[in-house]
């Protein structure tokens, strides 16, 4: 169960490693507003704290974002999920807040955001992904789960990665 939940089985390629180091050092010099990243030994898995932007529904709420990088990053998109308190899946984190209530965020933490899947481009960075996620949070008109949340989460029960889902994006404004 844990193995299928962790998409980072394969070690990063050399190119991925070099690029992530560059991104990391740029992040340290100039982190995106509203995000905090604690540097760890694991370059392949970033845990990023995001604070809702002031003046939005999520102001002052803090969530944790886990970003996993595939072997062939940046040719393949990173996998960003909000951490939620399923013991046994993400065993290394203290799960304080649940995933934010948002029409594009499932209760298992999966995010429906096209740049994480089909619209990914290797010119994007962790930083730009984070900003997109914050922008998605900020533009939300109401706090609620996606309409198909229960069905989706049930299908993902065995810990499958959101990348295995065939996404279809209902909202172009996001």
């Amino acid at each position: 169960m844990t193995s299928s939940s962790s998409p980072s089985r394969k070690a990063l390629s050399k190119i991925a490693c070099n690029r992530l180091q560059k991104e990391l050092s740029e992040w340290q010099v100039n982190p995106p507003t509203g995000f905090k990243h604690k540097v760890t030994d694991n370059l392949q898995k970033w845990i990023i704290e995001v604070t809702g932007a002031p003046g939005t529904l999520y102001a002052n709420e803090t969530y944790k974002l886990q970003v996993d990088f595939p072997e062939h990053y940046p040719m393949e998109s990173p996998q960003a999920t909000f951490l939620i308190s399923f013991f046994g899946i993400y065993i290394f984190v203290i799960f304080v807040p649940p995933a934010p209530l948002h029409p594009h965020i499932y209760s298992n933490g999966h995010i429906c955001l096209d740049i994480l899947y089909d619209s990914w481009s290797p010119a994007m960075t962790v930083s730009s992904v984070c900003i997109s996620i914050l922008s998605m949070l900020s533009s939300s008109p109401e706090k609620q789960r996606p309409a198909d949340n229960d069905r989706y989460v049930k299908n993902c029960k065995n810990g499958r990665s959101p990348k295995e889902t065939r996404w279809w994006f209902h909202d172009d404004k996001a």
């Binding site: 560059k22 604690k38 540097v39 040719m75 481009s121 010119a123």
Partner: protein
């Protein structure tokens, strides 16, 4: 545990952001571009990175930065000075065959720059010749227009014709004090031809030769009109 204790700095010592410019970094691997190639939209990549993205990972042929359409035959390689070309297949993505970088498209050799009109008599002659052609042709067509208009009576129209043709030719050819450059300039605007600076009016050394040529041309035109 919660707040920013940088538990490990094993990556922070590779501080790539010390270097001030990222202008020549590949937009995919973020390193100095190898086998650099530029899209028509102006974005720089390593050729192996771009090839791999476009042909093995992307669903569409678009620029990773701006999503403009990217075509292999419209890519522009950058040939700097310095190291010889390396074969990309040996270097960056082992196990994946990446063809050679597209070659640059080389337009024809540039034609020699146009000479300044004041340089010598020959080029002056050339320029004036062009100017005169441009100046005369519209005139000829207007005359022909007259002619066809007056076709009803052949003789009067012919006279009319000569009458018009003569003074013009004389004016061009023989009027001694006519400021040449001024006339020339005035007419140059009409054909919309080349716009090099022209000689200032009067006092030019090759005026005499030009006048002779103008007379000859004038006579030619006259005979042409007679026919």
């Amino acid at each position: 545990m919660e707040k920013g204790e940088s538990t490990s700095t094993s990556y922070s010592d590779t501080n790539g952001s010390n270097e001030p410019d990222h202008d020549f970094e590949c937009n995919i691997c973020f390193e100095l571009a190898q086998d650099p190639i530029v899209t028509l939209c102006g974005h720089l990549f390593c050729w192996p990175c771009l090839y791999r993205w476009l042909h093995h990972h992307s669903h569409s042929q678009e620029c990773p930065v701006c999503k403009a359409l990217v075509q292999d035959d419209k890519l522009v390689p950058l040939y700097g000075r310095g190291k010889n070309q390396t074969d990309p297949r040996t270097k960056r993505y082992p196990g994946m065959r990446i063809p050679n970088r597209p070659a640059g498209q080389r337009p024809e050799t540039a034609s020699p720059p146009p000479q300044q009109p004041q340089n010598d008599a020959a080029s002056n002659f050339f320029n004036y010749g062009i100017g005169l052609m441009g100046g005369f042709m519209p005139m000829a067509t207007t005359r022909i227009g007259n002619f066809s208009f007056g076709v009803g009576g052949l003789l009067p129209s012919l006279f009319n014709f000569q009458f018009h043709g003569f003074p013009d030719a004389a004016l061009y050819g023989t009027a001694p004090g006519y400021p040449f450059g001024g006339y020339h300039n005035g007419f140059r605007g009409v054909p919309g031809g080349n716009n090099e600076p022209t000689a200032p009016g009067g006092g030019h050394p090759s005026d005499a030769a030009l006048k002779n040529i103008l007379i000859v041309v004038g006579i030619c035109v006259f005979f042409f009109l007679l026919l």
